[in-house]
Symmetry: D2
Subunit: 337 residues, 4 copies
């Protein structure tokens, strides 16, 4: 038996990756793909790489049609637009994975401060599981709506959560330095992401203002069960895909890098998509995969925990399908290996 | 004594390269830089790499001011806009190098067919030297207005002209296959030139319709003194700068690759910016320089002549300064080595 | 029922792609992976991206062990070394896809001239099907040994063969201009393929001497049923994977680009991995896929046929698995979509 | 009057950049270029981009010849090899800029611990000025030998030194996270820096073990006049040139990002090659220049100081010529703007 699926907001890079995974998924049947684009475009018009995989028009978003025709929705809409649609979908029995940030933060005031908009479906905040199966698998299995994590938060939280949970590191003074490929910026034409601006260039951006900072801090706080204020600095580097995250943390008394390594290995030993390695972590090893690779080092009085993911897969579309598999009762790794 | 200069249309990539060269030129004094951009921007606002080099506001284009304050204008405006301005400037005694295509073709009908606009200053066509000093040095020295060549034509004509002139190759069946870095597309935000579209990607474009085709054919015809219809196919490759051109030509009876090599060496022996080499031609050897590197090979019954330039330097700003130097009586290589 | 597999020469880039595909193949069981590397390395030591996918040591090549333990061999050895091993394997009942050039040419003298070595298994030349299923599907199904095509030949022959077969183009004066990503050069440390040499660089290489020239000419000759001497010029461009091929051909009298397009569409209408498109052909649309995209244009008196493949997939490992599927009776597209 | 120059170890990437700058320098006359390469190679054989700029053979290193024929030596030899040669040159009256690490650390034991070799000229340690003119201009002017700084240290020390000197930040808990283009690894063929390994890839390396860590700590300690133990983590990113450094520091009581910005502006106001900016710092703005761009931000309870240089210019060859200019009495910026 297959699950009938709608992808709303199907023209961007994460939707493209999602469609590629769904094309390989034996139980996913794509019924509807929507876009605000004008004209009678099909999926292969906006994603020519998918010619021959899907023969489906892009349609305007219509909540009623979706509620009557599909079982599952992947919402790839921008924040605010997404919650506005998702809210009305939830009343109709469909299940939803939301790629936007709308349901990740549990505090309405924090959301509205960082995103600068009124939340269109704020009542739901706090009751939506965060779609990181490594932390919230049971909750995801039961959920009708899951908040797909941000890309930077995925890479940072997978590195930090076990160490915080096991009380191996201090909740104070956690520094997360991350670099991302350009696809993280999305597909819109933007002068700053033209080839000749982004190629052969590195820059930091959003220092102190990036919206993934409160998301990282919130989930670190949850697992640590005490307040974590994580300092987060993202950078843009000239590659298509991949995030490399370098976390500087303070070990608690007597804790060595070996202890931290052992704890990571132990906690993630049953996880198919987290690899705790003792060779160099490199983004090329996780490119086009749903893996997160982790390693830990001693440096002076700090531990340095490094993490690599593909921002479009484990940081977006792969995680979404992992959540989909859990929510629908399929094997968690279906179409992801 | 210095020459007072205006750069009109100063925000693009070729203007940026031009400004970098002018900053090193001992006799060039930049007085005016114009832009259609709104706001009170300065050069370093749009070209932060030039912070500390120029302290000049970007102003709106005003022909009267330019005529009264400068001796020399580099016009980096788009076609049609450029001729419209250049025409009025010419009446005022300033000298001009025009980066646009407006004065390169000598036949008004050909211009209007390929560019799809009415020419604003068509009477001047045919009397403006083509700014390739290797072919038209004497004419450039005497001129008040010079048509700076297109990037692809520069790379192709420097490869083909001596062989046509010396009657070593047939005027029939010349195929020019060229690949260019992305900066050739200019600085405008365009979905097709976003990093994630252009990186890790090659495509052909404008097959049979690229406007540089008639420009190449025209100047090949001039030097050959008989009609040359060159078949031209450009491609986009993932790099910032550089053009690599592969010309497939038919040698006349008894002409070998060695003969062609000797002819190229001979004709270009006094040229500072053309190197006829017997090691591999590679765009990295000419990147950020005003050089054109050439080599020639035998392959079956064809000669293959390859050529590399930096599209922004020898294919635009460097050639413009080379022309400027000739028009103002400076040493031709000033600021270009 | 699964097929037991050995991959010999498992450390290079094509072997890496092959292993990734085999990991997804429901009927492929990897039993042996060999390497000349010293030490007790495993697959994941040389391909850390495959950590968690395979838990297999790299062993020294031993023909007897392979003959007794596996059903199918993928040989990723270099030319000459490959035929030397394959020859002895063939006597043992295993089936083989050979990635090397050893069995592609049918004329021993041509092989020995272009490859500069004595052929270790020359008697077999001429009886081994060329592993391009679009041309030789029936022969491949019956074969115990298949010669996997070269990457450039795949892209060129898929573009040219139908037009030659249907007598739409002349067998004379075919020019094949191709550009390849750097992975085509293999994984060996080589100064010319260091990042800082290959990045931001384009060059032609092997003009008139590249070994894929006789391979292209031979199969064009077969389908045309008259002699084709194809002029081939490869180039290196700064990307990881992908080949873009631009073929300049002469249409026979009265044949237009539309005719050629219709013929390509017609011949390939049942093929899952060849897409004849009327949008721009770009290597990014075929990256990481087994597709070949084709389009055709008119330019002056020529047709220009363009073709894009992923050199590591359709140009190597994907084609090999396509052949494997045919030789073992699996669905041809298994693990390839 | 010109200065006669020898470049020893002339084949690498920093030597290439040095030669390009020297070609533009009106007072530098290159007399000797040495290499351990076999054969009768010339400069343009190993650096084809310099064809036409220099017509000089590469010779074997001969100390006596150098002492008798040149006034100034740039040593681009590896560590240990460099000091071994430089020591003998110093007795002959020539002046030297040493690109290697041999004279940067003042403590012999620290040198021998981090570099793992015996120092061939250890007596000189501690009396050789560190070639960062922004800190040691007067000492450099008087010196016969200058230790050209490491690339990462240049970017980090220029960011940190003024803040430490003015006591605006704590000497404790300074974290320096840096990313570098691949040219920092030098020109030797190395599997890890092949295009297909380094492209589309980010990794951290040398965590806790990189030799630039003690160099950064030493000069921070000098300017702070108290012990600074800097935690340093370098990363490799897919670009040719450029270093982006992100420093996480603790402001002293009451010190804001604005205070730090003002201090940086103040201290560097007379410096031609340091730009303290209030637009985003990006490596592309300093590529191919001798500039270091700096900016400072508040983030939680930290200041984040970011810095960008071209590792081959301000981080190597440009700094070397800046030192050369000072040591020979030329204008400090000659050939560097």
């Amino acid at each position: 038996m297959t699950t009938r699926i709608a992808v709303i907001g199907a023209t961007g890079y994460t939707a493209f990756e999602l469609l590629k995974i769904l094309a390989r998924h034996p139980s996913a049947e794509l019924i509807i793909a929507t876009s605000r684009q004008d004209g009678n475009l099909s999926i292969q018009d906006v994603h020519p790489a998918l010619a021959g995989c899907f023969d489906l028009p892009l349609t305007q978003l219509d909540v009623e049609t979706i509620r009557s025709e599909v079982d599952f929705v992947f919402s790839c809409l921008p924040h605010a637009a997404s919650a506005s649609t998702v809210g009305s979908l939830m009343n109709g029995g469909v299940k939803v994975v939301d790629f936007s940030a709308d349901y990740r933060l549990i505090d309405l005031a924090v959301y509205e401060k960082w995103y600068g908009v009124e939340h269109p479906d704020g009542d739901r905040l706090g009751s939506v599981p965060y779609g990181l199966p490594e932390l919230y698998r049971d909750e995801i299995r039961q959920a009708n709506l899951v908040a797909n994590p941000g890309c930077y938060p995925t890479s940072a939280i997978l590195a930090l959560a076990p160490l915080l949970k096991e009380k191996l590191i201090s909740t104070n003074d956690i520094i997360v330095n991350a670099v991302s490929g350009v696809s993280g910026a999305g597909r819109n034409a933007n002068p700053a992401f033209q080839y000749c601006e982004a190629n052969e260039n590195v820059k930091a951006y959003g220092i102190g203002t990036h919206r993934h900072a409160p998301e990282i801090s919130q989930y670190c706080t949850f697992v640590a069960e005490e307040n974590c204020e994580v300092l987060f600095t993202p950078h843009l580097v000239p590659m298509h895909r991949g995030i490399f995250t370098t976390c500087y943390v303070r070990p608690n008394d007597g804790i060595s890098a070996n202890d931290a390594f052992a704890a990571l290995r132990d906690i993630y030993c049953g996880e198919q998509f987290v690899r705790v390695v003792n060779h160099p972590v490199e983004t090329k090893n996780v490119a086009n995969t749903n893996y997160c690779d982790l390693a830990v080092f001693q440096n002076n009085d700090r531990l340095v925990v490094v993490s690599a993911i593909d921002n479009l897969i484990k940081g977006a579309a792969g995680a979404a399908v992992q959540n989909f598999n859990l929510m629908c009762g399929y094997d968690e790794a279906t179409a992801l290996l």
